[in-house]
């Protein structure tokens, strides 16, 4: 009986864990991402420059309520990742520099905002909704995706992201 209850407790615990990390969906597509976009100051960022880092690439818009709601947790995620090589590249979906600058002043994201006024990367990355997020491992491959907002600084997500870091930095 003791063993049965232990087994049940383990089962409940493991299924709870599965639900908790279920926000991030393992990526099964064939996307080989490339990205080259300017930030708000005009500096061009190339995804290749972030090789050997874990990268959260997110597509967002100022008119998207869940995008706005989750941004503070993305700021906290930056801190929680600590020494793990990690970057957030948040790509604005087709809005103007002026619109995004006003938004940034208000919401104060502490990560890199990239501009894609033409929507070229949005099409290349097959993004049809916002927020759409891609987790890229140190190997340069997309490992997880997420549609919709989440609390990015949850222990489960932080742990999942750290596992994608280069072996010596995990």
């Amino acid at each position: 009986m003791k063993y049965v209850s232990k087994f049940l407790a383990l089962l409940i615990f493991s299924s709870t864990m599965a639900i908790a990390v279920a926000d991030l969906k393992p990526y099964t597509g064939k996307l080989t991402p490339a990205l080259q976009l300017p930030d708000l100051k005009g500096k061009t960022h190339n995804l290749q420059d972030y090789k050997n880092q874990v990268v959260l690439v997110q597509f967002w818009a100022t008119y998207c309520p869940p995008c706005i709601k989750e941004m503070p947790s993305m700021n906290r995620l930056m801190q929680k990742m600590g020494d793990t090589p990690f970057t957030i590249l948040a790509i604005n979906m087709g809005e103007t520099q002026n619109e995004v600058e006003q938004f940034v002043t208000k919401v104060k994201p502490e990560f890199t905002i990239l501009m894609d006024e033409s929507g070229e990367s949005i099409n290349q990355w097959q993004v049809f909704a916002a927020p759409s997020s891609f987790i890229i491992g140190a190997d340069g491959k997309v490992h997880y995706t997420l549609y919709g907002g989440t609390e990015w600084d949850s222990d489960e997500i932080v742990s999942t992201l750290k596992k994608l870091a280069p072996a010596n930095k995990e």
Binding site: N123, A129, S132
Partner: protein, 262 residues
């Protein structure tokens, strides 16, 4: 020159008259007729009719009862401009809550029945209009109508405003999966989408999927507005402006659909 001096009583009467006229004006229903149609399963559906002399009839699936003042204003304006409008109240008829998923419970048969009735009674060219997930109900109805009336030009086109036709939640990095009705019709379709909604980025993909069935598909992005702009309580200036111009936008859409069906 004659000068009129109002006595106190005259003033009171005139004030009462003004108040009565204003009250009457504000409570006047913009719809000029209300009719009930019985569906195949015996359900009675109330339809608000905005009659017109023109040869075009717009059948709007205002499944949230269509009671929004802007929808009524638009329908009234269109009818004054030669487009007859029918607005069936599907949700109330089936006692369904005003939530997105309710539309799934509305029988396809009802759409077919309404199209057939509209054609039979008026002989006008019928165009359909719906927004959001209600557009799937339209496509279901069109598919069924086309299978029963192959080659019949009575149904001439459909306007899909902010179509939400995803079968499942969109997955980043994957092509969207659409509902079964997408790409199964030949009817000319016109898609309207707000520029300030992420769905605008999927409009080309959706148009291509709809075209698979043979439909000529037109798309129009409306600058500076969000989806459902005409239903929003917090509408901004561009959204208010476009809402006021909605009859013109619909008439322009009908023009393109008419041209495609000729």
């Amino acid at each position: 020159m004659t000068t009129f001096h109002f006595s106190s009583l005259t003033k009171q009467i005139s004030h009462s008259l003004i108040a009565f006229v204003l009250l009457t004006m504000s409570s006047t229903n913009l719809a000029n007729e209300l009719e009930t149609l019985t569906m195949a399963d015996g359900t009675d559906v109330d339809i608000r009719l905005f009659s017109s002399e023109g040869d075009t009839l717009l059948l709007g699936f205002a499944c949230d009862a269509g009671a929004g003042i802007h929808e009524e204003e638009t329908a009234a304006s269109l009818s004054e401009d030669g487009v007859e409008v029918w607005m069936p109240d599907m949700l109330s008829s089936y006692m369904l809550p005003k939530i997105k998923s309710s539309v799934k419970q509305i029988p396809t048969e009802d759409v077919v029945h309404l199209i057939e009735t509209a054609i039979k009674r008026t002989g006008k060219k019928i165009y359909l209009i719906a927004s959001g997930p209600d557009t799937n109900l339209l496509l279901r109805g069109i598919r069924e109508w086309e299978s029963r009336h192959p080659g019949d030009p009575g149904l001439a086109g459909a306007i899909l405003m902010f179509p939400r036709l995803n079968k499942t939640a969109p997955e980043p990095g994957q092509k969207p999966l659409y509902t079964d009705a997408v790409g199964t019709t030949k009817l000319p379709l016109l898609l309207l989408e707000g520029e300030r909604t992420p769905n605008r980025w999927g409009i080309k993909t959706l148009a291509a999927a709809l075209h698979q069935g043979g439909s000529p598909v037109f798309t129009k992005l409306i600058p500076d507005v969000r989806g459902y702009f005409f239903k929003r309580d917090n509408a901004n200036e561009p959204e208010e402006t476009v809402t006021q111009q909605l009859p013109g936008l619909i008439k322009a859409s009908l023009f393109y659909l008419k041209r495609a069906s000729q």
